[in-house]
Symmetry: C2
Amino acid sequence: MADGPPRQGEVTVLDVPEVTVSARHKGFPFAALGRLATDVSGTLDDFLTPILVLKNAPLRHNLATMARFCAEHALSLAPHVKTTMSPEIASAQLEHGVWALTLATPSQVRTFRELGAQRVVLANELVDPQAIAWLGAELTENADFTCYCYVDSFDGIDVLEKELPPGGRPLPVLLELGVEGGRAGVRDLGLLPSLAERVRSSAVLELAGVGGFEGIIAGGLNAGLLADVREYLRRLRDVADELLAGFEGEFVVTVGGSAFPELVAEELGPRWQRNRPVRVVLRSGCYVTHDSLAYQDFRRLMSTEYRALPLRPSLELWGRVLSCPEPGLAILDFGKRDTGVDAGFPVPLHRIRRDGSEVEPAPPGELTALNDQHAYFRGELTVGDRVGFGISHPCTTFDKWRLFPAVDDAYHVCGMVQTLF
Amino acid sequence: MADGPPRQGEVTVLDVPEVTVSARHKGFPFAALGRLATDVSGTLDDFLTPILVLKNAPLRHNLATMARFCAEHALSLAPHVKTTMSPEIASAQLEHGVWALTLATPSQVRTFRELGAQRVVLANELVDPQAIAWLGAELTENADFTCYCYVDSFDGIDVLEKELPPGGRPLPVLLELGVEGGRAGVRDLGLLPSLAERVRSSAVLELAGVGGFEGIIAGGLNAGLLADVREYLRRLRDVADELLAGFEGEFVVTVGGSAFPELVAEELGPRWQRNRPVRVVLRSGCYVTHDSLAYQDFRRLMSTEYRALPLRPSLELWGRVLSCPEPGLAILDFGKRDTGVDAGFPVPLHRIRRDGSEVEPAPPGELTALNDQHAYFRGELTVGDRVGFGISHPCTTFDKWRLFPAVDDAYHVCGMVQTLF
């Protein structure tokens, strides 16, 4: 590995592609068409609706807050970039000293590798033959590139062995620990030693640690859920303890999600690490923009037992009232094409009246349905009013936008966010 | 309007953008990176998973079937292009003699106007000041361009009048008739004559007809729903009858959706048209690719009372088994980032076994959940198996892909589909 991969805290700047604004970038001002995105100025008033905006101050707050939290608790951050798939936001994360970028699919790894990502956690089993062959070659040809992936079965190991080029640099793999009724990952702890042995015996694989995802644990938002997550993290800790015996080099223990970072710090923080050669890697993705509903609810839950990380929602979707066809019903100009609805509908925050530009609080009311391109607001609005909504679940909102502006507190454009879905 | 807009049946070829395949085009073969999309060859086996494919034969069948249906029933087709936002598919629709392209938002109109669309139905209220000013200028400066939009309120008319440039070519508007509990559109029929009069008295607007959307009518998949749709179409017909009295020129009556075209033909077909100056415009969008569940259910419902239009599903999402962590549970490598789930989960159709290339029927089983990037299949599969799924609701699947291949029956690439979301 020549000089070794860059250490935590080193800045790896991504090669952010230039993008020219075109007619296909929904919401952009007509005056911006044909210009470089980075040259677009103006305010929210200059954009068509619907338009998504990223508020810069809460984004910066979240970046700094999570960096501080990880430093305090001896956690390495490998933010899940599948949330945003944004080179600008991933670059900001790298500038905040993250250890690696996490991605979910081989196509995503390829995208960020092309931008210059040097250390990647593919938080997933890798089974696609073409992707395995590519990754094997990429590792062998680039000493400064590292990519971890998961394994959870002998079948999966067979596939990796079959496709990895012999004699190349071994692929570092993490044993995934799942939960009953959950997603991937080993259920039977008794299987882990033999899986580990199988990896160790492979010439093309390297056992690098264990991984899991506490965010997959289902349950109501109450103390019982926190107890279940704690129990899972302890199981993962025990697994790591066992595999660590006789292990040489750095052993990665990675968990993820933006719901329970405080529990991760408690169960896998400095007290457990005790100068052992472990690197505990947190893969939170949604923390960076946070949201106004689903992840906000987790913050509230955490605050019942912890000094909860004070993340701030930074995404706002602005729409306009097209029609008030019945008393107390307003139809707005955005829909499922513009925001995720899988974790609740967007939450009304602000209103700008027709012909106005003053940002007021939204009137009482809520969205009750969304079609592809329309939203149904129950409450008192007027045709032409604009309403700014906080979104729920950043992942399924980012993938609805190719390009959108970052704005300051006065809604002046102060940056651009592209996504590479 | 100089020579007038092109007549139905004239071919308007769109300016389909060239696209170079890059790392960000998920699923594309490594060998395709850097090449023009139109130069990509190969088969399904050459693509990474997940990958969406459009089967060419059923697409062509649907294009021809709908063209024949509209010709038989004296309907003009203005396919809703918001479904696909694809210049390739919209071009194929234009080549099949459609009368106009329908779009849902000003940003979408702008996108297709840039590609050369000449007649557009914006099946929506138009309230965005910047978009109104642009459209007014576009109409005035381009005699061969037409764009209709909806109005359903005096407020909405006020906004249009305020923003349209005085002295320009009038904007043709359609009065939208809604349904109680539905989306936009006038509820109180008594309001229509005064709205029509208000439009007629405007120097910048032109009353061009009426529009509605029978697809918004809620109900179980039974005869009662069909009766409600028929009732709505008759109400729209009565409204048109009334407004037609004393009308000069062509009067547009437009309804939409891909669920009930047979009912539209029955209620608004040649018998009603009787050589009057009406153009009945069907705005179906999903017909062109059809699907394997939601719209397929509507076909089944229609066939209880009609010789239903025999549309064929053409979209397949192929994924790969990453993990079989519990007996009878397989985790695949696609999720909500790759397919719509708002009208049901994808339906398993085919399987290709690991190391194989023969397409077999999928084993018994079904998807029971989807995360952002994972799917849960309950049934017997093996790590590495690929499974092809039919999707439900094309609109929310198209917007998950920037570029994907069209394939022939043997899954050889025979074209490319880009989307401009």
